[in-house]
Subunit: 517 residues, 2 copies
């Protein structure tokens, strides 16, 4: 899971610098202030000709203004010719030829190229997860429940520096282009380490990728033609949905219950549709935290065999378990070579690393390597060599043990605080692994209100909405969920943080529902 | 340019371990020996069920056997049921259910999934450059003319270690997920550095990518729908062809002459076809080394404006020039926002680094960032921070000056040696920049023979064939070219190396043509 930082949020919003803050004491209407602000951005070319502005609803939410204020500012700039509105497409900065200004002296200025019209179909698809940018966080984070992070207090900085120094000594050899399949010693180390997950494979069966996301993207590019059906758990990991959508897959949701992915639901789907690929997270279902039961695993593999279904198994938190050892990976029982196994180093080490691996049947792995050549040739050999050293020295394993112990404590503290403070109707289960809790709010809760009060309380967290794709049956349910990570919530802060969050939830409920459990 | 290493070659060949060497003294026919060798690979599962074997022609070439020998071995294994032959598709290792062996005790074994049948259209396209694996190199490299490398004697190991140590001190901050657009200080450093290429842009206009190849791939994914026409210089950089083919582009070649890309040729194309995008290397045409003339640059931009053509400018060796300062980038004159500018750190630093950048009009850059989120979320922040430090400290600029000086000497030495030793009819021009020479052999030369003798002489080099895509008008011409890099050919070794290469060329000519010029 890789939820992104403010810089990226700006990008998602259309590269708009969101530094606008209205001066409500100024006497000037806020829409005029916003109008002048946007005008200045265009004049300074920080908003470029042809650039699309955020939808007025989105901008209003993120700036804390009414939608009407934003609409008034936009309309006034359209009237002045600085913006253009296209029905059904949005509002754009006018190009120079639109406005007639800024023409050079030497003949007519060229027309600005209309990039929106040149975009490929897949680049117009809704790749950004649903509701990804809906809720701005607090100005100062006092309680950090955000997912996609690791415990900051346990970053393996010293071990990384040691391993990095060893890898740097190999720089002359690593400086040349290497294999799209990855640095051989790291592939060997991964193959050995995977024995602990029950997977027997050789270095040749392993491909190193720039994070499991790249593995998913390459799998999508290898297998998905536009319109091909891909089944995906719902709620489910939104990065997978993004990768498959970028290949123009037709996404089909498979329900998830307290045993994990519903094999009955999958069977119903397979009886009526040709499905090429299933994406699943059996070790720790993302985002619900449920482990797929043994019975379901057998059913799933039997279904895959019956329908010649390929399975992409994302074992992203397989090593971070809290209730006994993890069940072996689905790949362990994969006698027909139907399972593509994806793993990552981002959870155990740190997300900024962007290193993961794919274990796949060889005919497919060879294709993935060819596609990777076209995509980015190969990965950063120094980073790969550094991780190889970390595995070989045992430092990675020691680090994972420390992380698991810390997370187990923080998980217990968070669950206890939730039991103590949350009002009736709030539902969750302690996750089997990973570091997040999928928290269901009562149907009557106003989720935007929860985020607004939480932000005022200094609480940063993520919404559940992105974990259901547009049009998914699970969308309504996901909309009333929060994702709470305990990775950066120290035990001694859990009670206070959850009490504040519970207050935000309570205030977002109708008055009669506000009592604590 | 990133030509790859043996490990990757194996992958391209279908993961086949090419350690087979016939024992010609053994009395046993060679095809029997090969048959046993392949049988053992299958038995040991180093060749897996469903895996495709190399075409017999390809395997014969790489093993130095006759094609008939390979065919006999394949046929015998097909007769035994160990391999299957599919007309028009190739020869595959039989799956366990094909052979009936290896069935488990508990019920029927599942069928092996037929991956070849699941592949998406784009994964079946010929992504691998034409002739990429045609010529095996020498066992021991005595003279290294291979392209896609930098001078090994000048690797900036000490500077890299210093910058890396500084970046590592920032590890806690860099450990979290960052922006798909890249580490902000590096974007700022790139924006400042690009002033030297005549490009005025802000950090917000820059996106960091994992090598220019990823930039090309993202541009292809943003703009190219299956069947869209993309124009590309011919001969031209094969990585670009691979990226566009992976998006199912219809490639159209534009001829190149002594002034660079032919604008007349492009105009003819644009009059008859809707072309979405042109890929060009104006600073140093890859592979011919020609710089695009000033007149052509003006004509090109006028054509782009007239036909609303997007241009991808790969400025890959813009800073490595030998005859006066480089002309400013095409992007400099891009008043209509039509040019996507791509640059790389792999040439100045080292290819294993995989770091480059894209400067693009903002509406497009925002799409590229969204597509990158789906592709691999973002790049390795530590590598990006290290390069930022190298730029800020001035170390990168000092390094580039040293590299330029060394390359200028080696370029002169190589040209002098070519003049001294090459037979009549061999044609080349000193390149305006970069580190390769595009060497044309006489039409009568047997190129496979050149490689065979060169390998025997300890010479490693690359063929021209990959620089023309399948079906290109330039294919025949590219087939009789070699790419010679002087990056790793010390001045004092140039005469001997070229003398040996000239001998290889001479021996590949009909007897009457063998005299030196």
């Amino acid at each position: 899971m890789a939820l992104c930082e403010p810089d990226w949020l700006h990008y998602g919003r259309g590269v708009l610098d969101l530094a606008f803050a209205p001066d409500r004491a100024a006497g000037e209407p806020v829409y005029r202030q916003l109008e002048r602000y946007l005008h200045d951005l265009v004049a300074a070319r920080r908003l470029a000709p042809g650039e699309r502005l955020p939808a007025s609803r989105e901008l209003a939410t993120s700036l804390g203004l009414s939608r009407n204020t934003v609409n008034q500012a936009y309309q006034s700039l359209v009237d002045q010719g600085l913006l253009r509105a296209h029905v059904g497409q949005g509002t754009f900065v006018s190009s120079r030829s639109d406005t007639g200004s800024d023409r050079g002296g030497a003949g007519a200025s060229p027309r600005a190229l209309a990039w929106e019209g040149l975009l490929a179909r897949r680049a117009r698809a809704p790749i950004t997860p649903r509701g990804f940018f809906a809720h701005p966080g607090p100005h100062r984070v006092e309680f950090d429940f955000r997912a996609g992070r690791v415990a900051r207090s346990l970053l393996p900085v010293a071990a990384w520096k040691r391993a990095s120094a060893q890898a740097l000594d190999e720089l002359p050899a690593l400086a040349e282009a290497t294999s799209p399949q990855g640095y051989a010693p790291l592939r060997e180390a991964v193959a050995r380490a995977l024995l602990a997950r029950g997977i027997v494979c050789a270095a040749q069966d392993v491909m190193i990728v720039d994070g499991a996301q790249q593995g998913l993207d390459l799998v999508a590019r290898a297998l998905v033609d536009p319109g091909d059906a891909v089944a995906i758990e719902q709620p489910g990991w939104f990065g997978a949905a993004a990768a498959f959508r970028a290949s123009e897959a037709h996404l089909l949701g498979v329900p998830v219950d307290e045993q994990g992915l519903s094999t009955d639901g999958l069977a119903r789907l397979l009886r009526t549709r040709r499905v090429k690929l299933l994406f699943t997270t059996p070790a720790v279902q993302s985002p619900t935290g449920v482990a797929l039961s043994e019975a379901r695993r057998r059913e799933l593999l039997a279904l895959a065999d019956e329908y010649q279904l390929a399975i992409a198994e994302d074992d992203y938190d397989g090593e971070l378990r809290y209730e006994g050892p993890a069940p072996p990976a689905l790949k362990t029982h994969d006698r027909a070579g139907q399972v593509i196994y994806l793993g990552t180093f981002s959870k155990a080490l740190f997300p900024g690393l962007r290193l993961g691996y794919v274990v796949a049947p060889r005919p497919l792995l060879a294709r993935l390597a060819l596609l990777r050549f076209a995509a980015d040739v190969h990965g950063n050999a120094l980073a790969q060599a550094t991780v190889a050293r970390l595995i070989e020295s045992g430092a990675l394993e020691r680090h994972v043990r420390r992380v698991r112990k810390l997370y187990a404590q923080r998980r217990a503290a968070l669950c206890e605080a939730l039991r103590a403070h949350m009002p009736d109707g709030v539902a969750w289960k302690p996750p089997a692994g990973g570091n997040t809790i999928w928290l269901g709010l009562p149907a009557e809760a106003d989720v935007a209100q929860v985020f607004a009060v939480a932000a005022a309380h200094g609480i940063a967290l993520h919404a559940g909405a992105p974990f259901a794709f547009e049009g998914s049956d699970a969308a309504e349910d996901a909309d009333r969920h929060l994702v709470l990570s305990f990775a950066n919530l120290p035990r001694e802060r859990a009670d206070e943080g959850v009490a504040r969050l519970a207050d935000a939830v309570r205030r977002a409920l109708p008055a009669r529902k506000r009592r604590s459990r």
